[in-house]
């Protein structure tokens, strides 16, 4: 098995005069669940299309599973045979049944009819769609259709799986089923690129993340590292009256803390152990702590990048 699954080296991509990617260099290692994040228009889909061989870079190198997936030669076909993908536009055939869709897709990856059928049945069962296997896709709910598209990405048993917004608009049950499946796949040694705006989901399942903004990578590394390094625990204090919250806010601001007040609710980021008992007056109704989250890290990085620009 190759250690590096995706290797992008100084990749630029232009659409006319617009530079969608500005010298991206990125590695995805085998067995990682890699979260690929960024605001709309940041270049995520362009990067995914490069990895899937749908477009070629204007300059720089794209290497996936040891080869260039773009050119339609035998080597590129070998590369693409080991990539499964779930794109924003699913391309599912609505007049065929779910099972027929999966068999067709498995055949496109070179499987014989019998093996394709067996494989399709296994996948459709594991995604809890077996009762709907022989129903035309046009009758599926949105969540079921998403699960089917996910199943299609897996039906060829690929080494590298690219998921573009897999959980958007999906009901909690489908989301749970898909998350479990992704975790099982990672446990089997598959590599998964998970592009999403659903940061909670990314935080739950990804081991590494890269954040893209305006065509440039602004973070690339382990998820835990990002949260530990850039995330901050937040303290919330609920006073009985807004005046009491303002009183503490004034003291904290004098100590250079970043404080936010919404009525009687005050929140701030404590940088070290801080005893506030001698800074407060009035009755405190409740206090609680919120651990650092990916959402906070993401917003900080993306906002800082926008300010710098």
């Amino acid at each position: 098995m190759k250690d590096t699954i995706v290797d992008l080296d100084g990749v630029h991509k232009f659409y006319g005069d617009f530079e969608a990617l500005r010298g991206i260099s990125l590695e995805v290692k085998s067995g990682q669940i890699f979260g690929y994040l960024g605001p709309n228009g940041s270049g995520k889909t362009t990067t995914i299309k490069l990895m899937l061989g749908l477009i070629k870079p204007s300059s720089g190198n794209v290497n996936v599973l040891g080869g260039d997936p773009f050119i339609d030669d035998l080597k590129a076909m070998d590369v693409r045979r080991n990539i499964g993908s779930m794109l924003e536009f699913d391309g599912i055939y609505e007049r065929l049944t779910g099972l027929q869709n999966l068999i067709f897709w498995a055949e496109l990856y070179g499987m014989k009819r019998q093996k394709a059928t067996e494989q399709a049945k296994v996948i459709i069962n594991s995604l809890k769609l077996s009762e709907w296997a022989d129903v035309q896709v046009v009758k599926y709910s949105y969540g079921m259709r998403k699960r089917l598209t996910f199943a299609r990405a897996l039906v060829s048993d690929p080494e590298f799986i690219v998921l573009d917004e897999p959980t958007v608009g999906v009901d909690p049950e489908s989301r749970y089923v898909m998350r479990n499946m992704i975790e099982n796949l990672a446990a089997q040694g598959k590599t998964i690129l998970f592009s999403s705006h659903d940061l909670e989901e990314v935080q739950k399942i990804c081991s590494h993340i890269a954040i893209l903004s305006k065509g440039e990578l602004i973070f690339n590394g382990p998820l835990k590292g990002a949260i530990n390094q850039l995330g901050r625990t937040k303290i919330f204090i609920h006073f009985e009256s807004p005046g009491d919250a303002n009183f503490l806010a004034k003291s904290l601001r004098e100590m250079d803390y970043e404080v936010k007040i919404e009525g009687p609710l005050l929140s701030f980021y404590p940088e070290h152990d801080l005893d506030i008992s001698n800074l407060t007056k009035g009755k405190i109704l409740d206090t609680w702590k919120v651990d650092a989250s990916l959402e906070e890290v993401y917003l900080k990085l993306v906002t800082d990048d926008e300010v710098d620009a």
């Binding site: 659409y15 299309k49 899937l52 061989g53 749908l54 477009i55 070629k56 339609d72 076909m77 070998d78 693409r80 045979r81 990539i83 993908s85 794109l87 536009f89 699913d90 391309g91 055939y93 007049r95 065929l96 027929q100 067709f104 897709w105 055949e107 496109l108 990856y109 070179g110 014989k112 009819r113």
Partner: protein
């Protein structure tokens, strides 16, 4: 055959067979072309000209039917699929754009060629009922070669060129323009072919030299289409 290509063709055909709109098309075709056969047979004069009328009806009408039936398939399998970005999903798999194109073209042929055969059967029936004649024995071998194998490739050449235009360019009304061009060319051929062909052929519309020239023309056109398709940049289709 390449199993991927086989899977692609089967899927494309399976998607259409048994569909209500396809069955309706077949019923409408039956009525329209049975009527056309009847009119041709009734209106035909006697003698040598009657045979020319018969040849003309067998050479032109089945392929025209194939062309008309083929329009929605070209729209569906190339125009619509490009619009809903299904090509993007297909081209992530280990198959080339050329394979996808060939599979779709083969499926259009498999869906529309039976219509041409069906219309030929209807024409045989019309000539037998109206005039008591059996065209199987009256028409010459070159006419049958032309009717069964060469002229049905003309709608396929049209489909091939249309598919190239659809894949190469982005214009919302492109398919409508292509349909008008296709129908216009068909009418021009229909109106002018009798005079042109009669000046080349002697006694019949089609003889072996006409078959030979037509075959060369068809092979040349197919080669041109394959060249154009092989030069397509898949990035134009997926962005």
């Amino acid at each position: 055959m390449n199993p991927q290509m086989k899977g692609l063709i089967l899927k494309e055909v399976k998607e259409v067979y048994g569909r209500k709109d396809y069955l309706l098309t077949m019923i409408i075709n039956t009525v329209v072309y049975l009527g056309a056969g009847y009119i041709f047979a009734v209106a035909s004069p006697t003698g040598v000209l009657q045979n020319l009328f018969m040849e003309f009806s067998f050479i032109v009408i089945p392929s025209f039917a194939m062309l008309i039936v083929g329009f929605p398939f070209i729209q569906e399998k190339f125009g619509d699929e490009k619009l809903i970005r299904r090509f993007e999903a297909l081209l992530t798999t280990p198959i080339s754009l050329k394979t996808v194109w060939t599979g779709k073209m083969a499926s259009i042929f498999l869906l529309s060629y039976p219509v041409a055969i069906f219309v030929i059967v209807l024409l045989l029936f019309a000539w037998a009922v109206v005039k008591g004649m059996n065209p199987i024995f009256i028409l010459s071998v070159p006419v049958w070669v032309m009717t069964l194998f060469i002229v049905p490739l003309l709608p396929m050449i049209y489909a091939g060129l249309s598919s190239w235009f659809i894949l190469r360019f982005n214009h919302p009304q492109l398919m409508q323009v292509l349909q008008l061009v296709g129908i216009g060319i068909s009418i021009l051929i229909f109106l002018s072919s009798g005079r042109i062909i009669r000046s080349i052929a002697t006694g019949h519309i089609v003889n072996w030299p006409i078959v030979a020239y037509s075959t060369i023309g068809v092979i040349g056109s197919i080669a041109l289409i394959i060249f154009l398709i092989s030069k397509l940049n898949k990035e134009k289709i997926t962005t």
